[in-house]
Symmetry: C2
Subunit: 460 residues, 2 copies
């Protein structure tokens, strides 16, 4: 760390807000994404106020030091990985719910508020904050905003973007702006709020968010529908759509995923079938939707059982925690593509085929209601040949998703790890337009450099 | 029109695609917004293909001629008003539905597709395109995208932004880009799609849109709830929220609005009460929601009656056509503010008070579920004093909405007419950031200049 900048930081902040201790640097080097270029930050700063963030960014701008903003570090694309010489700006201490207005159905929060804490506070008013990434018990709203996080419930309630009404953002020069509106609707000016959501801290640092809350559903009904094979389960997703019912949760788990869950939790899901659709309906229509769904899926050959609330909670919990067992390693990588729902059956079949051809393992879990799949590929060995096979399978899984009209990332973000595939999805002209937006917001390139966007090639 | 450019246009397009005939120029001079600076375009071009749009924009860029893109011209903020020396680019002939995929629940459309036509095509598959501005029978998807149009159903289904997945956009240099994704979820890159939605043709010209469709509800139940006064009706909006039911339509009409409807339609709404909440529930929960709503609103003193489908359709139609009777004139202007829902009662009371103080008439219709109000102010005379009083009331209505945490435009857009109030809502730093985005996308300033954003002051 530039000694002058470190001196300034220590003068501006309390002693427990700045650290260059090796343990702190190591703990802030990476998020939960795959690591391809391990770097430790030069320093870590814990901001406690908006003014802290402004002071840090002003200093970073003056000394041209990169700033990687970070919440709980639960991202899985390396969006919060440290980069060479950077300062990691930890926002977890900015964890106050500033306002929870039940009549207006909104909350104003600091970026370090944990998703589950906001939900607990909202539940006291019969409300909920709908976006629920698997990490919701520990991840922060700021991080959710930075990645435009999805989750299980977004099949019905939308993703983070759909819940964010307004933002307070510290720009690359340390200035503070406010975007958006407190009202549900508002069309004054360009959609700067949407531009910041999902921009992974590369355009500005979110220091406050006004979010829309939804009604906590009184009724929740959960179906477990087992099929002989994963193709049947994927077909069930389309049958539900054709029946015009809207689950709040619609998760698909293939046979290997059920076996893995059984192994880890001593459960017996595999005994019940070769693939599972875990379906939850909520709200005042739930009772009628269950009847319609049961008929449609039984006709398709599904083995439908309604789970009692305890068992349903257990199953959803198993599914949510799936991510926990899938933290990426060099020889096991979870993907995050999305395809149009009509392509689910074809895509899953293609995944099985490509895994067999490349000699790698694959299991598939999907937020199937959104066509958002999380296939996990793995190889047993760490040798060069195995890792190369794993990467070939990953590449092919991405290319196939794109060929079917899909995207390389449904909800995890590009971060650092997915940069290699971004040019397959977006043409150079669109990438260059985004780079110019990045240049406009951050002319020095100090905000989370090397993330979200591929760099210009030397020619351009 | 620059003779060379006109020559090039006539060489590139068919004779019936270019006009400088006085009748065509006059017909394309204004949209339905208030006119403060009447200008006729230098020429009108009807594009029929994406290539047409590209050729026109390339030529306009070469000759530095402003381009005002336009669909049906139903906007009410003057966003499609012609400006000095401009070319109006009419997109109504690009009216093909390119794809309607019922399994994927999406449609790909050209910009000139009329909203109602898309809904008719979707209905054949049990689907609907949810955003329904009052103009939906004649307005185009391209215009809806340009203004991020709202409507009645967005209380439940969201606004245009929430329905748009991907866009094809011709940029200011005539190049064509594609933004977004065909899937429901996708977080690759910055949200360029959201940036174009609502940008009123100032950043690019939308020549194609991929939109998400929703399930056409099987059940629809409509309640007419009359209250003694408008404050009671506004309180009813909060009571419904507290009862955790989600109407698809929740419209508030005050006494003068009911009287106006009665006068124009020979109806007898005013005999039934002093203010009306027109409430529609749809979908599989409708039956249960009606029971809950009826109880809650009866307890509040509302006179609840369920309308048979014919009468319900008639009432909704009356409400939708309200805009028709309120096309703005010099002495009658409809507003479009939004306030947090908890402020509805206070705001409506303030409107009545300010109208009385300024000696102007006011009636209020609101998409009350969103807190989006359309007060109409009028004065009987056209004299300077009357018009000044009208403008004082308008100004105060805007300032009061902002003071209550609201916005100056819930769904109509800034266009040309609302520029004067934009700096009251957005600080100079936020405006300047948007101007720089505009400069990045349109360095010559040829795309709908003088709309959506206030110009830099001479100092900056």
């Amino acid at each position: 760390m530039n000694p002058e900048f470190e001196h300034e930081l220590r003068a501006a902040l309390r002693a427990d807000q700045v650290s260059t201790a090796p343990g702190d640097l190591a703990r802030h080097a990476i998020d939960q994404g795959p690591v391809t270029d391990y770097r430790e930050p030069a320093a870590v700063v814990w901001a406690e106020t908006v003014a802290d963030v402004q002071a840090v960014v002003r200093g970073a701008a003056a000394h041209a030091v990169p700033v990687v903003a970070r919440g709980a570090g639960t991202g899985v694309s390396g969006g919060a990985h440290a980069t060479e010489g950077c300062l990691v700006l930890n926002l977890e201490r900015m964890n106050r719910i500033l306002e929870l207005n039940a009549a207006d159905e909104i909350a104003r929060v600091e970026p370090g508020v944990v998703n589950a804490d906001l939900n607990a506070a909202a539940a006291a008013h019969g409300l909920m904050y709908a976006p629920d990434p698997a990490s919701f018990k520990i991840s922060t709203i700021g991080g959710n905003v930075a990645t435009n996080a999805g989750g299980l419930r977004c099949a019905k309630y939308g993703v983070t973007r759909d819940a964010v009404l307004a933002l307070d953002v510290v720009l690359a020069d340390g200035s503070l702006i406010h975007t958006g509106h407190r009202t549900f609707k508002g069309v004054a000016g360009y959609d700067l709020t949407g531009l910041f959501v999902g921009s992974e801290g590369t355009l500005g640092i979110v220091v406050g968010a006004t979010v829309r809350l939804r009604y906590l559903p009184a009724d929740v009904r959960t179906l477990a529908v087992f099929f002989p094979d994963v193709q049947g389960a994927a077909a069930g997703v389309l049958v539900l759509g054709a029946a015009r019912v809207q689950p709040c949760i619609l998760e698909l788990l293939d046979g290997p995923s059920l076996a893995e869950l059984d192994f880890r939790n001593a459960s017996t899901l595999s005994d019940r079938g070769g693939a599972l659709l875990l379906i939850q309906f909520d709200g005042l229509a739930a009772d009628r939707e269950v009847v319609i769904a049961r008929d449609a899926l039984t006709n398709l050959g599904g083995n439908v059982s309604e789970e009692d609330p305890a068992e349903a909670g257990y199953l959803v919990e198993l599914r949510r925690n799936n991510r926990g067992m899938d933290v990426d390693t060099e020889n096991r990588v979870g993907e995050d593509v999305a395809v149009p729902r009509s392509q689910l059956v074809r895509y899953i079949t293609a995944l099985e085929d490509m895994a067999a051809r490349h000699g790698v393992g694959v299991r598939v879990i999907a937020h199937a209601g959104d066509g958002n799949l999380h296939p996990t590929f793995w190889v047993p060995g760490m040798d060069t040949g195995s890792i190369a096979a794993l990467n070939r399978a990953l590449d092919e899984s991405i290319e196939t998703a794109l060929a079917l009209g899909g995207t390389i990332t449904g909800e995890h973000g590009i971060g650092q790890y997915k940069l290699r595939w971004l040019p397959l999805e977006q043409r150079e002209d669109v990438l260059e337009l985004q780079r110019r937006i990045k240049d406009l917001f951050d002319p020095q390139g100090i905000l989370n450099p090397g993330k979200a966007l591929t760099a210009r090639t030397s020619r351009s």
